[in-house]
């Protein structure tokens, strides 16, 4: 097993948490009401905390001069391995919740498997994170039901988000070369095997929320290979602004 493959594999998991955390933290002070504002930023905090654990491990593997901050702030767009789903903009609250719901369901399934990783640090992070992420899933699933089975407008808006974001769900199960390599070494998770359970859970909640399951069969991917949507550049310019403007600055 090459160290570099493992580092890339870690990015593949951690970048999702970082970018989704960044999107959610944009809502700090801008949530639709105080409670959802606090909830979204709490979830962001959990995700950024998990990111730090993953990046610390990646930094250790990368050599003495690399820190977790370098990994978070100084890579270029194509070096980020997150899926397209998590970088999609907040648009309106229906999108925020749907994006969260689509990712949370996957995240729980992923961490359940990652707990068995032969890499003991990855396994420890997964065991810690799954407790937090199960709670996120409960929150986003509840909101899907509230909005879907709510008023005419809330239903229409959340259905719009479901239809729009659906095309990004398939990428979650795409195996990259690093995924395959880590799978062979007992470190990684075979995400392609999570697909059936994923759509089963998603469909159950959508039905309970009286929402329609999109019939779309056309999916987009690319993020895992570093080919991102246009939104990613804007997101990174915000995320990296301080380190780019004042190199090596510290709090």
């Amino acid at each position: 097993m090459e160290k570099e493959n493992l580092v890339q594999y870690i990015y593949g998991i951690a970048d999702n948490a970082l970018i989704l955390g960044q999107r959610l933290s944009e809502l700090c002070g801008h949530g639709p009401n105080l409670e959802t504002d606090i909830a979204c930023t709490n979830i962001a905090l959990d995700l950024l905390g998990q990111t730090r654990s993953y990046y610390q491990l990646a930094a250790q593997l990368s050599g003495e001069n690399v820190t977790e901050d370098d990994i978070a702030f100084l890579r270029t767009e194509r070096q980020y391995r997150n899926v397209l789903l998590v970088e999609q903009p907040n648009t309106h609250f229906g999108f925020v919740i749907t994006r969260q719901f689509f990712y949370d369901v996957f995240h729980v399934l992923l961490l359940q498997e990652l707990q068995n990783s032969e890499n003991e640090t990855l396994s420890a992070i997964a065991k810690k994170a799954i407790k937090e992420v199960s709670y996120h899933q409960r929150f986003s699933s509840d909101w899907i039901k509230r909005l879907g089975d709510g008023t005419e407008i809330s239903r229409q808006k959340v259905q719009e988000a479901v239809n729009d974001l659906w095309k990004f769900t398939d990428e979650l199960f795409h195996l990259t070369e690093d995924d395959k390599n880590m799978l062979e070494n007992g470190v990684g998770v075979d995400v392609s095997l999570l697909k059936e359970k994923y759509y089963q859970r998603i469909n159950e909640i959508l039905e309970e929320a009286t929402l329609e399951v999109p019939e779309l069969k056309w999916f987009r991917k690319g993020g895992k290979e570093g080919i991102h949507s246009e939104h990613m550049g804007y997101l990174l310019s915000d995320l990296q602004y301080m380190q780019r403007t004042y190199p090596n600055m510290k709090w």
Binding site: I38, L48, G49, A124, K127
Partner: protein, 167 residues
């Protein structure tokens, strides 16, 4: 180092560690919180390992600094590191810690099943730390910090934090 299976605390260090409190819940010492997993003197240096309550808990950095300062006062040099496994659970809060939480106005965590019922709003079982009534309702699944949910008492009308069960 990510794993520290058993808790090892040198009794001599206990009183110093007890003076360090959680910056977000100042009435609670880090010992009562159950976040200290290891504390021993190795080659004249105090080695302390702490575990986070939640991955993103911003209090951990402050706790680390406070531990170093507490030992400095005793002319001892301390080194603090973070361990992740086994993951922290609310079961590690001591009975004295639970009491301190309640007195401070934070409802202590219920058992896992009861916690689920309370957070889903199925049962009124979370006791208001102000008036003791169980006629309370959840306002938000997330409170002022990641480890708490926001509740309100329908008897005395006071809002309060509930420390969520984490297993």
């Amino acid at each position: 180092m990510t794993i520290e299976l058993e808790q090892h605390i040198d009794p001599k260090l206990y009183t110093i560690l007890e003076m360090v409190s959680d910056p977000e819940i100042p009435v609670l010492s880090i010992m009562d919180m159950g976040v200290v997993r290891f504390a021993r003197i190795v080659d004249d240096k105090v080695i302390v390992k702490i575990t986070p309550t939640y991955s993103g808990c911003p209090a951990m950095d402050v706790i680390g600094d406070d531990i170093i300062k507490a030992f400095q006062k005793e002319n001892m040099e301390a080194k603090v590191s973070l361990v992740l496994s086994p993951a922290w659970t609310t079961d590690w809060i001591t009975p004295r810690g639970r009491k301190a939480l309640e007195e401070y106005g934070i409802a202590a965590p219920l058992e896992e099943e009861a916690d689920k019922e309370a957070l889903l709003g199925n049962k009124k079982i979370v006791k208001c730390p102000q008036c003791g009534s169980k006629n309370t309702k959840m306002i938000s699944q997330f409170g002022s910090t990641a480890c708490k949910a926001l509740f309100q008492c329908e008897n005395c009308l006071e809002p309060f934090d509930y420390f969520k069960c984490l297993k």
